[in-house]
Point group: C2
């Protein structure tokens, strides 16, 4: 069918339903989201037109002048195309044409980029990834104006810009193009869309099925392998957001040109599923900063504007409209128009944030991300258990790590990446050396470190071969739990972690119980760090403080980046540390016998001020072979600065103990009002297996690994 | 006239025009601000009624249970009174009555509070200040319900609660009552209002003119002495906010009962002036944290809800309505009703934030606070030069200190007070020892330190005797400047500081030039710290870093609280430090010859984690007798996290030099585009004095101490 179509009309737009947008310009104000976007893009493109066309010879690495100019150019091309379709104003088509004619002169003269480093070199940019992104945007802009050009102009631009770029990024870069990796997705998308625009089915076929068209690589294979069956992307939320864009944009182009492929139904609807999953990976709109990630990244990004619009175009799920409202943005496409129209019509419904286990790995058998939520709101408390596989080169060595969000804030934190994105003075915005020496290391996370070394000895290839096992997940009811186990992060060491979010009657926020058990085979030093956000208010145990000189905690594997402020050895009843964050108190209470607590601050050994400085506490056990770290984190109270009132600054918990009974771990919380809450975790995680226990003189029994028994107030 | 009135009717409300409020309950929703406040107070008072009346025997210090209960009681009494007047619901009057009858039983049995410390002991509270506050609120609540009580009940409460409290706080506490101090204002207000309610002119007279009625103390004298002619309160913005409440509330009561006193016109309208000045002491609604101050204090506080309503009642200035809109609150008084009505009617106008010099001292001759604003918006850039007098016991040793706000953020900062207000575990919420050892010390501020000691040797009494002289102030036009001089902060040392806010064509934000010149008489170590908010991006000069062990900078006067991260000696062209805060870059550039730069972090020597940890840079000159510190602070560029774009991360300034020509200091900025901006500061600050200088081969002349000459681009 494509060939026939091409013969009849080889210039009209194919990447979108341009008819829907035609001459909408005058009426855009009826849909404020669309109208504002139109004004925004018009302002930006008009400014670019006023600045004049600049297509410099490539020279600079990321952040440099020529780099930034080519980035601005693809944005302007894309915007000019949209504006031409919406407003019908010829000057936008002329601008896009003139810029592309300039590229048509430049492009054929280019060899590998002079600033290329160890990444695959591009032509316009220092890495070919940027060239792929350029192509994805530019070809959409071109598609939109192509029917306004003369056949001669089209020929020049087709041949000297787009066909050459597509050739360079496909047959000219086979290692990138045929990889199973997000960089390849961008290349596939750019090349495939170019195929549609140039009416070249061969390019489309290569984009979908790889250079050899076997299907062993290419876009469809990427959809098979880069997402888990639950729509989780292997590299984690930050890159999931980034990776999503070529998937959704190319999918929309495929749907527009070859609906018979039913691309949105492919693999049980993996594309719309991935969009929804991406949104679930946020708190208050910000992505969980797992693996290499910038913590300031939210749903307010170009990728998500596109994803929400395309997702809405496919599903018409009104929950996506509330995300668009939060974003306060949409895109200038027919789908963006639908979003803006339906938001204006009041059709938005709250997005249903939910507890969920997102399995990892193409077959869903490489661990997973366990998300426990206290409610459906985007600011309700969230516990994230990172029981995923390594996630390739951007993965951190943090098996069974966890995060907590509460009261609108990150409380138990992950450093994310050591990087100042796009800031030239910080190594050109690239990952900093401290990303390796600190951010990726295990001690920078909230999980077990054995003998002051990182998981897998910091070997990413080895790490790729092993994943945790999710043994149990229950996301509903008042006792929500994740249990997972990791074997082989250290030779001969197995550790298992139960993280439980407990609703307790009368307490505003759920409490978190954390039971981490390790079997080591031989005596070792076990450290369990907790990185938190807040200011320390109090400790229940005495501290030996390093007041005038703070030693480093160690020499390598991230330990060299930790200052030690103080150490202390809690007794049986006083193992508690309280901090305050945004007016809320957090008490971290431990029942780990024989533990030494190390309080300190990160950011040591950092002569270039590349690191943030943040507080941490470490539970340290020396010389044990097997051990159990038993911890409780309790949010409580409120300090109101404007009313100058404080309520609930004291913990509601009076006692916290752990005991072993047969094959059960029994964790008991005693509240200040005398009530007891008993949480029982069984070694056997079989959901069908029955367990029983004497509780307060009465035999209690239950099925599955998690039991809970709330006692009455003591008389 | 009071006696006659009292004979005719001795029970109707006198502290407010109750008729205006009567039975408004049903219609309150027409004015959302009022309706929301009504709902809020109703919820709070209903909860107090449900909890039942509790009037415990005084026992605890601040933050303890009995303390908090008596605080809750006065709030509930006040609220119940308002609700009775507005809704006419009898149960609110009954609740207030029953609680006051309980106080009538308790109060006569009380002696000095058992938890009294070195402050003047109260009866209900550990310090009598709290008793005064209790009285101010409670007597307003009582006034509102008094006509609903039987004569017998009135008699009991009059005699056993209010007359006794008023006696205790007046004749029973002469040292507090007759002081010229904010604690006395509260006592005066409480006693005076009690006088009106009990129809006892003697109490009113004592409140207004002191116990001996001579006028040497009392409320009017406080109005004379505690505010400067510009409405600036001696202790600084944080306490100005707090102090304002008894002034405005008692003034409103005086106006309601004795309009012939024309209290709002007293001293050229000092009360409404003080209200407006208080609002001017904010950025983005937050008070400048000078002296002992909590940095989280904003216009959203009870004091300012009252002040805005009372100020509006007097002036009907529509700018106050926009403050009420920002506050999203008002009060349940006739004035609050007016505010809510006029806000609902759309009468609000933007509050005109403006550059201004607020003279300090009762006669306006004790220095002043110089506020330079780049525009009238509450987020436009603000430079604050603290050239005020010491400000009593809560004053910091920071003569000629400065602050900068830009882009919605505090950039050049003041630590404020070392205190966790109302947080029991932090010394009961009181000022911490680190308030003396760190927060008050000179090195914790952005001003000159000589020989590592604080101004006046940290002696507050000595500090009280000397104030800076404001030599020049110009708040309008593109070159806004403050010049002030301090003599005697150190024996034999005079220092003068010019702070200039320069608008420069083509640059989005003004630049700050800081010229601090010291004459010492003998060689000394001069330090000029800058405490800033942000993450260091880059330095232009090489650093010697203390990577594995950070030394303390000194041993006393706050130096023991500073870790040294690195030091460096800039050359003539590379003395620049750049940081980023909230996506904006700040380059601090110096032209101080021979200086050593010390980069570090505060928060050392702090075993109890009482301090925040914040970055600083110090310019250090050793062995000079006279010296000039020449600095430039330039906000530039923007990092946009959601678009991942960076613009203007490079400084727009290429050169920055200082030269002395005759009696002129010539500071020259060379921009990257080649333009030159020359700022000339004359020793003679006489506004009428003419100066001249050769600029680019041409003689330029001007009047006054500040000259500026912008050159063209170099050809
Ligand atoms: Zn990480
Ligand atoms: Zn201060």
């Amino acid at each position: 069918p494509m060939a026939a179509q091409a013969a009849a009309d080889d210039a009209h737009p194919v990447l979108m339903n341009a008819g829907k947008l035609s001459a909408l310009g005058a009426n855009a104000q009826a849909y404020p989201l669309f109208g504002e976007e139109l004004a925004r893009v018009r302002k930006s493109v008009d400014a670019a037109m006023k600045a004049g066309i600049s297509v410099p010879v490539p020279k600079d690495a990321g952040g440099g002048a020529s780099h930034e100019q080519h980035k601005r150019n693809y944005t302007a091309l894309y915007g000019a195309g949209q504006l031409y379709r919406i407003t019908g104003e010829r000057r936008y088509a002329d601008f896009a044409r003139d810029m592309l004619l300039a590229y048509a002169k430049l492009y054929p003269t280019l060899g590998p980029h002079p600033a290329a480093s160890n990444q695959a070199a591009g032509r316009l940019f220092w890495q070919s990834l940027n060239d792929s992104v350029w192509l994805v945007y530019a070809v959409q802009g071109y598609d939109a104006v192509r029917d306004a050009l003369t056949p001669q102009e089209r020929q020049t631009i087709d041949d000297n810009v787009f066909r050459k770029t597509a050739q360079f990024l496909s047959t000219g870069s086979p290692k990138v193009f045929d990889r199973i990796h997000n960089h390849a997705t961008w290349a596939n998308a750019g090349v495939g869309m170019t195929g549609y625009v140039l009416r070249d089915p061969d390019l489309v076929e290569k984009a979908l099925k790889g250079l050899d068209k076997s299907g062993k690589s290419g876009f469809l294979r990427q959809l098979d392998l880069l997402f888990s069956p639950d729509g989780y992307y292997a590299e984690g939320p930050y890159y999931q957001r980034y990776a999503l864009q070529p998937f959704v944009i190319f999918a929309a182009a495929i749907e527009a040109n070859e609906p018979q492929r039913r691309i949105f139904a492919y693999r049980d609807g993996i594309v719309p599923k991935a969009i929804r999953t991406t949104i679930q990976l946020t708190y208050d709109g910000y992505f969980f900063p797992l693996n290499d990630a910038m913590p300031d990244k939210s749903l307010r990004t170009e990728e998500l504007y596109q994803a929400v619009a395309i997702g809405y175009g496919v599903t018409h799920d009104p929950a996506l409209l509330s995300i668009a409202q939060w974003q306060k943005r949409t895109v200038l496409t027919p789908q963006g128009l639908e979003v803006a129209r339906d938001v204006a019509a009041g059709k938005a419904r709250p997005f249903p944030f939910a507890s969920m286990l997102l399995r990892d790995g193409p077959d869903g058998d490489k661990g997973g991300l366990a998300i426990l939520r206290a409610g459906p709101g985007d600011k309700d408390q969230v516990l994230v258990a990172k029981n995923t596989a390594q996630g390739m080169g951007h993965g951190h060595f943090d098996k069974l790590n966890w995060l907590l969000y509460d009261n609108g804030q990150a409380i138990v934190t992950d450093y994310g990446a050591a990087r100042f994105l796009n800031i030239e003075a910080k190594d050109g915005g690239r990952y900093l050396p401290e990303n390796e020496s600190w951010a990726k290391q295990t001690v920078a996370h909230n999980t077990l470190v054995v003998n002051e070394t990182s998981h897998f000895g910091g070997d990413a290839k080895l790490a790729e071969t092993l994943a945790p096992r999710q043994l149990h997940f229950s996301g509903e009811g008042p006792t929500r739990a994740s249990i997972a186990e990791m074997d082989g992060a250290y030779p001969g060491v197995t550790f298992r972690r139960a993280l439980v979010q407990l609703d307790i009657k009368g307490l505003k926020s759920p409490l978190m119980v954390d039971l981490l058990k390790v079997k080591g085979g031989k005596p070792a030093r076990y450290d369990l760090p907790l990185h938190f956000a807040g200011h320390i208010i109090d400790t229940g145990f005495p501290l030996q403080s390093n007041v005038t000189t703070r030693p480093l905690l160690g020499k390598a594997d991230g330990y060299q980046h930790l200052w030690v402020d103080a150490t202390g050895k809690p007794g049986a009843d006083n193992g508690v540390l309280t901090w305050i964050q945004d007016g809320r108190f957090y008490s971290y209470r431990i029942a780990t016998p024989g533990v030494t607590m190390i309080l300190g601050e990160s950011g040591a050994s950092d002569p270039r001020f590349n690191l943030r400085r943040e507080p941490f506490v470490i539970q340290r056990l020396d010389g044990a072979t097997d051990a159990a770290f038993v911890s409780l984190l309790e949010p409580h109270g409120r300090y109101d600065a404007s009313a100058e009132t404080t309520t609930g600054s004291e913990s509601a918990v009076r006692g916290f103990t752990h005991a072993r009974q047969g094959d059960l771990d029994v964790v008991t919380l005693t509240l200040r009002d005398g009530r007891r809450v008993m949480l029982v975790l069984a070694d056997d995680t079989d959901p069908a297996r029955s367990h029983s226990l004497q509780v307060g003189g009465k035999a209690q029994s239950w099925k599955g690994p998690v039991g809970r028994f709330d006692g009455e107030k003591a008389k």
